[in-house]
Symmetry: C2
Subunit: 227 residues, 2 copies
DNA sequence: TGACAAATACTCGACTCAGAGTATTCTGTC
DNA sequence: GACAGAATACTCTGAGTCGAGTATTTGTCA
């Protein structure tokens, strides 16, 4: 019902909104949408209201007057506290300076790729590349348009960043496709055999037990993975 | 208590495990760890048991005998059903072929960057770059080591992918640092001014209302964002 | 002026996840 | 041979998330 930890970045977005001026939750949501923050931070009502509640419980924001206009539902206007301002800055500093491990859907797909028949894979990867390329094109078109209209680049950094990552992904996948087709990935035989005979490639090939860093450490440099 | 949707990739990992042979949940978790799948898929006990329960409820797996050895807690061995096999393949196909929007922590940080004083930002970005570079180095060292020991590259694709993305991020951040320092980002004045005077850069500069695609569409090409 | 869509402002309940806690058994070592 | 600690195999609780649902008001177009 409420974030005691720094799990949900929506809470941070709320803090930054209230840092500008006191607002009621719905107004916060509108502000975030107008500014396109919802492209980078998951925003939905259920979470918003519980996040706000949680922030209040932690003393980072304060609910003031409950105003009722006409017979609309009453609105509680919140303002940020000093503790809230501190927490906002600290959190933001950490977000920017400390990389955290993210669990991406595609990563999961890659890790489990063996369960698909190898002859299907290339086609699927091609589809992905095609989809991503059209997305990238649209996004960059939109961004240049918005910049032309005068929005400072500062507010489009996340879009730039996203595009950069997507381009890198496309390149990597293209390379992977090439490697599979040229046989440079190797092991296609065993992969196929596994699907046809039921022999487990894992058992045949290799055993990772005792490989330091292969099943424990890895990639937690930085902080404990948020959430 | 159970995933009716395709929210949690752990459920897919469970399906692929059971596709090889029937197992009880704890054994699944060990298998996944051995193979390093837990680097790409969030794995913890609470989730595992509810995910398994959910898969059974959906008829994708079947719990069989409850075995009790000695006086250890009893174990239920599950096997995958035909429906489960189908779902596994479909899901995996989608994961690989359809890109989905991911909400990254750093993206959130970038979107809210304005709330930090500009003079601090470069230092923070430098820290990030340093941390990432050491992670990348360690990871690639580990991967080459593992490959030398004979693990087929097929099972390290996610690691390669991760590294590729991290390198792209590092490059992008380096560029950003350069742009800020050379003044090419622009707007540093207003940014600073905002922090010192309390004037809202948003209100001064620009208004995004009515910009098509800036607050609604964007990046949902593909499917409804999982979860 | 009536009617229908969009905006306003939340509420609610069902689901989902995390991870500490529990109870037992094996393993190594001095 | 006895004791610590790792491994086995879960269970339980409560926090957190999602998004459809609700109820009013404002805009709009014929």
């Amino acid at each position: 019902m409420a974030p005691r930890t720094r799990a949900n970045p929506l809470a941070l977005a709320v803090l930054t909104s209230l840092y500008e001026k006191p607002m009621h939750p719905y107004e916060i949501s509108q502000t975030l949408r107008e500014r396109g923050v919802d492209r980078s931070v998951r925003l939905n009502f259920g979470s918003l209201y519980s996040v706000v509640e949680g922030l209040e419980k932690r003393g980072l924001i304060q609910g003031g007057e409950k105003i009722r206009e006409g017979r609309r539902p009453e609105r509680t206007v919140y303002e940020i506290t000093e503790a809230g301002t501190t927490e906002m800055t600290d959190w933001l500093v950490d977000l920017v300076s400390i990389p955290v491990k993210e669990y991406l859907q595609f990563e999961a797909g890659l890790a489990l790729l063996g369960a698909i028949h190898p002859d299907e894979v290339v086609g699927l990867l091609r589809q992905r590349v095609a989809a991503m390329e059209s997305t990238i094109e649209q996004d960059t078109a939109e961004v240049t348009d918005i910049i032309r209209r005068g929005l400072p680049r500062l507010f489009l950094l996340e879009a730039e960043y996203q595009t950069a990552l997507q381009q890198a992904e496309v390149q990597w996948v293209r390379q992977l496709i090439a490697d599979i087709e040229s046989g440079r990935l190797g092991d296609l035989e065993q992969w196929r055999a596994w699907h046809e005979t039921g022999q487990h490639i894992w058992d045949i090939e290799f055993d990772t037990t005792g490989l330091p860093g292969f099943d424990k450490t890895e990639n937690n440099k930085g902080q404990e993975d948020n959430r």
